[in-house]
């Protein structure tokens, strides 16, 4: 079975290591924060200018001056710092954020990503995504493996306008976990009940299946 959004988020959460500063994009990446192991500590960076983002507020805690990059009301954890957007992107552009997780429309075997624009539809803007993919040393894309028509989103070459080039290192989809290196997707893990063949069928870009492919583990 393909993973649910929550299951993808659970698998993404496994990528977070103790002591990581992490930027989680809107959608599934943000959900991952709910599944971080209690054995580790991570600090969440929100690119509007907050390092140490906490949970959503209770009704008493709601403060219009305290929001995240998705414009949602949030709280700050102990040890948080708050700064300008220029400082925030200095942090991002300078490669100080250990891991960025974000969604995408397409990713290709060279690590290119398209995530902000579908020609013919209204362009809403890239927000901070272009800075994030150009800045973080380690970037994971999370998305469904194929679109609702069954077309692969893991391509030989992105067809949509790019958000960034040669920057995506890993993809976590509802079907699989794959590394991107040397011009190919490398299959590392399959979702429970998903065969290697199904992943192969739904991956349009070059796919290398190693001997050590394993099934995703959930606690």
């Amino acid at each position: 079975m393909a993973l649910t959004r929550e299951q993808i988020a659970m698998r993404v959460a496994q990528e977070l290591q103790d002591g990581f500063y992490v930027n989680l994009g809107i959608g599934i990446p943000t959900l991952a924060a709910n599944y971080v192991s209690t054995d580790i500590e991570v600090m969440l960076q929100s690119e509007n200018g907050l390092l140490g983002m906490g949970p959503y507020p209770t009704e008493d805690q709601v403060d219009p001056d305290m929001i995240n990059a998705g414009k949602e009301t949030v709280t700050a954890v102990k040890g948080a710092s708050i700064f300008s957007s220029a400082e925030s992107f200095a942090m991002i552009r300078g490669g100080h954020v250990d891991l960025t997780v974000l969604g995408a429309f397409e990713v290709d075997q060279n690590g290119n990503i398209a995530s902000y624009m579908i020609p013919g539809k209204l362009v809403k803007g890239m927000g901070g995504a272009m800075d994030l993919v150009a800045g973080a040393p380690n970037i994971i894309v999370t998305m469904t493996h194929a679109d609702k028509h069954g077309n692969s989103k893991l391509l030989e070459s992105c067809t949509l306008p790019l958000t960034g080039v040669n920057c995506i290192k890993k993809v976590i989809t509802d079907l699989a976990v794959l590394d991107i290196r040397d011009g190919a997707f490398h299959l590392l893990e399959t979702a429970p009940g998903i065969s290697v063949e199904e992943v192969q069928a739904k991956t349009k870009g070059k796919l290398i299946v190693s001997d050590s492919v394993r099934e995703m583990q959930f606690n």
């Binding site: 200018g49 414009k71 220029a86 809403k124 790019l162």
Partner: protein
């Protein structure tokens, strides 16, 4: 205090000098940290053909959205403009020009404008539509795009506390783009929640030194919340 008293007591004085066709940088991220009263005053003045530099363009009936509604904006330089049906309509009809700029590049362009740096290189946008028509260049084996600074005739910002000399402190994430915006206006106007006596702000806590600020006005803020999210 004659020389450094920057406090003005009405919005007409605060925005005095703003004319048709001018460029205005606005602080704020979404509806957070926006200078509500200064935006209302611009609507009141009815000046037209403005270019706005702001990360977002408000929503239909709040923030910069009210100036769109009033057809006062000719061009927006923003990173994300997706919360606004009116925006979409004016953009598709060709009434509104839009220059999409990555959020970090936008923040840095404002900072550069204020800091006397005419242009800088960034990896952001290399190989994407953002780099089209721009110079690119390699440093230490990585590719970068040359981006130019932004300055404006006016910068309108929101702060929490100001003293009469225009020293500013921001509150929580309402800081966002306001500090850079403050540096990049020929005339910078700060709308604040509270005006305190000179000397009350601790020198190392001041986020924006008064040298960047020309006018200070005390505002009353609705502080509308764009997405109320609560813990379960």
């Amino acid at each position: 205090m004659a020389g450094f008293n920057k406090v003005v007591t009405n919005y007409a004085d605060a925005m005095n000098g703003l004319e048709d066709g001018m460029t205005v940088i606005s602080g704020g991220f979404g509806l957070c940290g926006i200078p509500e009263g200064l935006i209302a005053q611009i609507k009141e003045m009815g000046v037209k053909d403005l270019t706005f530099v702001s990360n977002n363009c408000g929503v239909d009936d709040f923030g910069l959205g009210v100036l769109l509604e009033n057809k006062q904006i000719k061009k927006m330089i923003s990173s994300y403009v997706g919360e606004n049906a009116l925006f979409e309509k004016q953009f598709l009809s060709g009434e509104l020009e839009v220059e999409l700029t990555p959020q970090g590049t936008l923040a840095e362009k404002m900072r550069a404008g204020g800091a006397g740096i005419p242009a800088f290189y960034t990896a952001t946008g290399y190989g994407t539509p953002v780099a089209e028509g721009k110079e690119t260049r390699e440093f230490n084996g990585r590719h970068y795009v040359l981006e130019e600074a932004i300055t404006a005739d006016f910068a309108i910002i929101r702060a929490w506390k100001a003293d009469k000399m225009g020293n500013l402190i921001y509150r929580d994430t309402a800081m966002n783009f306001n500090p850079m915006a403050a540096t990049a206006g020929k005339i910078t106007v700060a709308e604040v929640e509270e005006i305190v006596e000179v000397g009350e702000l601790e020198p190392t806590h001041i986020h924006t030194p008064g040298i960047y600020v020309n006018r200070v006005i005390k505002g009353n803020f609705e502080k509308r919340i764009e997405k109320l999210t609560l813990s379960r």
